[in-house]
Symmetry: C2
């Protein structure tokens, strides 16, 4: 059973995931399963019985759950860091705070095609992926014990992907983790001072300045942020203020998939299939917060949902691990220029 | 000229290091220089002219600077992220805060021996390395513009090492970076409530509990922290409260080298030469702090210097990058047991 342990001095939490318990020699084992023989891949249509039963799928009409015919398929992670069965109880051990590993850990199999990766996806295929994210977030937030859902994709072995077949992951937690917590507090502070959304202001600056823009369509802006922590970091964001990703549908969904396709294909071509992590930040549900009753103060007005793509092309070393400052050897203005100039 | 850019939503700073400017194709180039032919290695005795002139060295009597005869040698980094010549001026760009890349970036060549790595170092050789750290920290803090010095070592390519010859790095900054800033605020809060040092309490718990201890000698405790963010994370800490690493000398220095040798050799043997980062946290000098005049309130009583060793054996993926929570697949109690049982 996994548990969260509070690291007091760094003010963050370790997830001690015993389900994944690893002995020293396990770390030298190659964990990236390529399945040259795709018939062995558990994410392959026809192999549905090799995974836990599906939670959600978009299917061809008339096909049964856990059989082929799906376009996108969501299943529980076989080696979950969090489980619904675990306790969410706060507890302690000597001077240390801890908490049960309550939550959920799901896998989105983005496509039935073993050989397709996100840079190959059509608009329709990207739509399926985003619909799966949307529907799972909505469903997980029905459980009042869930305070936050993190959706992410690991692309490439060096970004932490362990199975080659394209997939994303969804983790639901009984706490708002450190980074989104910081984002909420920072955007709330900005709103309290200025009555404006910070990211709306950032978008205005980027449109005015222009040097960091990679692509835009009617609904979305794709740019390399001014204070990019990662080289070739890319942000995808709705131009009009919107706090909740789960409202995206229809034309806005098509346009999000278009913006994603542009971002991912440009990175893929410019950096020659770089590993990257894709991270979705959307508003958490309003819950009671004993630490700060005003925690969610007008969150709908200052939280602006967005997606980050973080290429893993430079290794974070002792400086980054020790300080949480990030040396970025490529100015975002240069990165954006390279990405703009890619011919697709 | 490098600059710091404030990432408002994540409340941290990006170091845009133009001296290291990298175009897309640079990222696919192998940056780990092995120098099978050690005569080409710029860190080799006899090749002193291939590096900038030395800043500090421990030498055999009668040998001249920038010639062979050194035991440990400190030089400016050829590709610095920070420079003394840069401005430390706070500035802005539209809504963004920025700051000049003032600081220092030095390289400690730990040993003249091309083939020796930290797990091979004798007590005497470890002493030389620590004396170099100590003397450079003391010297850098003479400059009143310097607010913080971060000493770290990248061991192994996957920990960000770029030259095979054993070396460490020292970065001096005009700001206290995010992680040490959090540590100072957290330990100060603890002290204000309890009149006790947090890490002194942690040491007491660890000695009482025992399950996470790897090694101890008269002066130092080596253990896997309760809330380890990294699998096989190890902390080396003086058992008696001490805020300032630069006071370490004589027997305490020998014992620090002994504790380090034990920690590093046990990790090396248990995990088969894992890549790791080693990070030294020591008290920053007391400087005027306009944001909080009480920032340094009794810092000598609550800041407890220590060293972290963070093995890079599990890849941080989208979850860690997105949340700043860390999934650790090896409980520190198990890690400590493996490390204790190593026969050296």
């Amino acid at each position: 059973m996994s548990e969260l342990r509070y690291n007091y001095l760094k003010d963050t939490w370790a997830v001690i995931a015993e389900e994944r318990a690893r002995r020293p020699h396990d770390y030298s084992t190659h964990v990236y399963e390529e399945y040259g023989d795709k018939s062995k891949c558990p994410f392959e249509p026809g192999n549905e019985s090799k995974t836990p039963p599906e939670i959600f799928a978009i299917r061809e009409p008339g096909t049964a759950p856990n059989t082929p015919g799906w376009k996108v398929r969501v299943i529980p992670n076989k080696y979950p860091a969090f489980r619904i069965e675990n306790s969410d109880k706060a507890d302690f051990y000597y001077i240390y705070d801890k908490k049960g590993g309550f939550g959920a850990h799901e896998v989105v199999i983005d496509t039935p095609d073993h050989y397709k990766h996100i840079q190959d996806f059509s608009i329709e295929e990207l739509n399926y992926m985003y619909i799966a994210f949307r529907e799972r977030i909505k469903s997980l937030y029905q459980d009042l014990r869930i305070k936050y859902v993190q959706v992410f994709k690991n692309h490439g072995k060096d970004a932490g992907k362990s199975l080659v077949h394209s997939h994303s992951q969804i983790i639901a937690l009984s706490k708002i983790p450190k980074t989104p917590d910081t984002m909420i507090k920072q955007s709330r502070t900005y709103y309290q001072k200025k009555e404006r959304c910070y990211l709306c202001d950032e978008i205005k600056v980027e449109l005015l300045d222009g040097s960091r823009i990679v692509y835009e369509n009617d609904h979305y802006l794709v740019y390399c942020p001014y204070a990019s922590l990662y080289p070739f970091e890319v942000k995808i964001i709705p131009k009009e203020h919107s706090h909740d990703f789960t409202t995206v549908d229809g034309e806005a969904l098509d346009k999000l998939s278009d913006a994603t396709q542009q971002a991912v294909r440009r990175l893929h071509k410019s950096l020659v299939n770089p590993p990257f992590n894709m991270i979705l930040y959307t508003v958490p549900p309003i819950r009671d917060n004993p630490e700060d009753p005003n925690y969610f103060y007008h969150i709908e007005k200052h939280f602006h949902w967005h997606i980050e793509i973080l290429p893993r092309i430079a290794i974070h070393a002792g400086f980054e691990l020790g300080t949480d400052y990030f040396i970025n050897p490529t100015p975002p203005e240069d990165a954006a220029k390279f990405l703009r100039e890619v011919i697709l």
